[in-house]
Point group: C2
Chain length 424, copies 2
């Protein structure tokens, strides 16, 4: 793994350059636009055709029967079901603390102002097919939606010749998913955004997918809401010489194995630690099943940067705004105030990143590619909307009428002023 | 104004059809992409060139001098300044109630889980030029940003031959805007998203603009966050025969005067009221300064629908999900529970929509085109981000290790399991 020793300014410039690389793929944009238009026009017929063309599957009915879901759940090995239930329990107890409420303000005479918080009526969850179908992600998205009060949680997933992964079906049942449809790709996103005879229209579409799914989500944004467009996984580690190189290397590789474009990053003031971690990464790679993917990630996307001190390490990580950030220094949690931009933070030696992927409870759907500067982890707030309301007595309106008409007229909106004067 | 008497199903189908009309303008997409690429590559030089080409203005410096802002503020007429201050006071007191905090959860032995809420570091506010420059919108966006704790609020607005509107400068000063730059169009959005030597990079871009500005915002989404893409203004009114046709007509016209594409809509069980309002709209149009705009809106986009009862009126409005909703029936506020989808709701005869545009306090930047199904009014939450964190003791991790490794291996992620086992 590459060790970079450079000035802080050089490191910082490198980070800026990486963050501003955005890809534009007009041919994919056009292909996706065509799929969306076709689904809008031809509904289920288009979906059937795409299942045949893209997934090589003939389907008479997209909906997965409840009996199939129940059978998968009942056949789930006991230890696996227990693990899923532990995850559900912790995800639920954490996300319960995110629930917000509206308010009613009657502090001014004759004036009621308020805000009502309501769940979205229906949300759609995209679950990729094959090896990228993660049961844990279903828990992470459906549980906050349930806590928000969403009544209809629709799951879509590409049709598979030998049926949907049974652990995916088990997780969906455990999380309270309302219905599962075997539809994948951009066509699934289009169906959720506009509705077909079979697939209900939803208010928000979540979940990871390939470039076609991500592009489709971006194109239907506005027609429905979407969660963020997830980029490759990232782990940033801040550590000093007290840290254990074996554990750090294992954590870096746990993210590297996701994707050749994943970004494992270590920033440390200790050259000695940097060298030891680099050697450990090489050693551990030799026995890792997904070594090919992890090696590409480590060699092309990863780095170990040696900085002058911990302050610089935090500054650099705040600029990177990593999806996951481990802080492996003594009394790690006391550095909470130094963290400005990160999706999810893991303090201390025992808080290994995969703990957060599965059972700790905070969400694992997190902002990537520097977007933790402005995006947040998925949570209950993503499944509610707010509505404002006011009521004024005639006397309360009279008190503010002059201000309203003055402002309306300075903006050239005479009709606004007259609506107020119609009350006088 | 057109009166529609149809079955509920017919009305409902008409609403669905309108909502699914989305425009796609590939030639504008391409022009905007070119502008963004140019600003990214050439920075301030590109901005200077665009100011000359598009705005016919030669600028040596984009930044509006503080002395110019102060002079505009000092010259503001007393009654106008008082009106702006009233608006600021009410916007502040309302939005203060939206402030949220993080939490720290230490309920399980050896486990700390929490969430930290932090302001965005910098936000950009686009203010259109000419007659569409609304001082009230500056208050509505900058005040919640300030309350969230945003330190840098950058305003951009197209250069004007005779200088920026002084009320805009006054509102910007009053709201706590940090700096104002004379840059407009897609190039202003690009500058805020990527930064130039003069214009700082921000984390989120807000504010209304023409199709070029809206398209640019959509294209830079992901590089920065954006507020919603605003469509034409909408007002929905639910009223029964107790309502005053004069006031309803004035309220419908107050939104119609914004834009030829604005949508004034009345739904009522009373045919008599429908006819009276329609006549009043015609009468009031004859003296309205912006009658040409308002007439186009009323005739082409507006409607009065007569339904069987109030329940149907609420159902139809929930399907429309209007930006503004007036409920003009006796004891209007008792219908709060019937409202599912609306940006901002005005209960009772005195709560005329323009009251909410200017001084009541709730935000006037609201979801349009049916997106109140899933989007919310602009507020303090739009200017913060959340970061999660955890810390586990070795014993706490040991208790959950088996569940983690079980889930990691069922997902095929051996490296994840090994990172946990490196702690044993």
């Amino acid at each position: 793994m590459q060790i970079i020793q450079a000035t802080y300014e050089q490191l910082s410039a490198q980070v800026t350059q990486r963050q501003n690389q955005t890809a534009n793929k007009p041919e994919i944009e056009a292909a996706v636009a065509k799929i969306i238009a076709n689904v809008r026009q031809n509904g289920d017929a288009a979906l059937t055709q795409y299942a045949q063309d893209f997934d090589k599957v003939s389907l008479s009915d997209f909906k997965v029967p409840q009996a199939t879901i129940d059978a998968a759940y009942d056949a789930c090995p006991a230890d696996l079901l227990a693990a899923l239930k532990l995850a559900k329990r912790n995800i639920t107890s954490y996300h319960k603390k995110e629930i917000t409420y509206g308010f009613m303000d009657a502090e001014q005479p004759g004036v009621i102002r308020g805000q009502k918080v309501m769940p979205l009526a229906a949300v759609g969850l995209y679950v990729p097919g094959g090896t990228a179908a993660y049961p844990s992600t279903i828990l992470m998205s459906a549980i906050p939606a349930k806590l928000a009060g969403v009544e209809k949680i629709v799951m879509v997933t590409p049709p598979q010749k030998d049926g949907i992964n049974p652990t995916v079906l088990t997780a969906a049942k455990l999380a309270g998913v309302s219905a599962i449809y075997q539809v994948g790709g951009a066509q699934a996103v289009a169906a959720l955004a506009y509705g077909t005879k079979t697939i209900p229209q939803v208010d928000k579409i979540m979940g990871p997918g390939n470039i076609f799914v991500a592009t489709a989500k971006k194109q239907v944004f506005g027609q429905v809401d979407i969660d963020m467009i997830a980029g490759p996984s990232e782990i940033g580690i801040i550590a000093d010489k007290s840290a254990d190189p074996k554990k750090l290397a294992a954590d870096l590789l746990s993210q590297a194995e996701h994707d050749k474009l994943a970004r494992p990053m270590l920033v440390t003031p200790s050259l000695e630690l940097a060298q030891a971690v680099s050697a450990q990464v090489d050693a551990q790679l030799t026995t890792l099943p997904r070594a090919e993917i992890a090696r590409a990630s480590v060699e092309n996307e990863g780095f170990i940067a040696v900085v002058a001190n911990l302050d610089q390490a935090f500054d650099l990580m705040n600029q990177i705004a990593p999806e996951h950030l481990e802080v492996q220094v003594p009394e790690a949690i006391t550095y909470l105030d130094q963290i400005k931009n990160a999706g999810s933070v893991f303090f201390g030696e025992s808080a290994s990143e995969p703990l957060g992927d599965y059972v700790a409870g905070p969400n694992h759907i997190l902002p990537t590619a520097g977007s933790a500067r402005f995006f947040s982890p998925l949570g209950v707030l993503d499944f509610v909307k707010r509505t404002q309301f006011i009521q004024y007595t005639p006397a309360a309106l009279a008190k503010e009428s002059k201000a309203i008409t003055r402002l309306a007229r300075v903006e050239g909106l005479e009709g606004h002023a007259r609506a107020i004067e119609a009350r006088q």
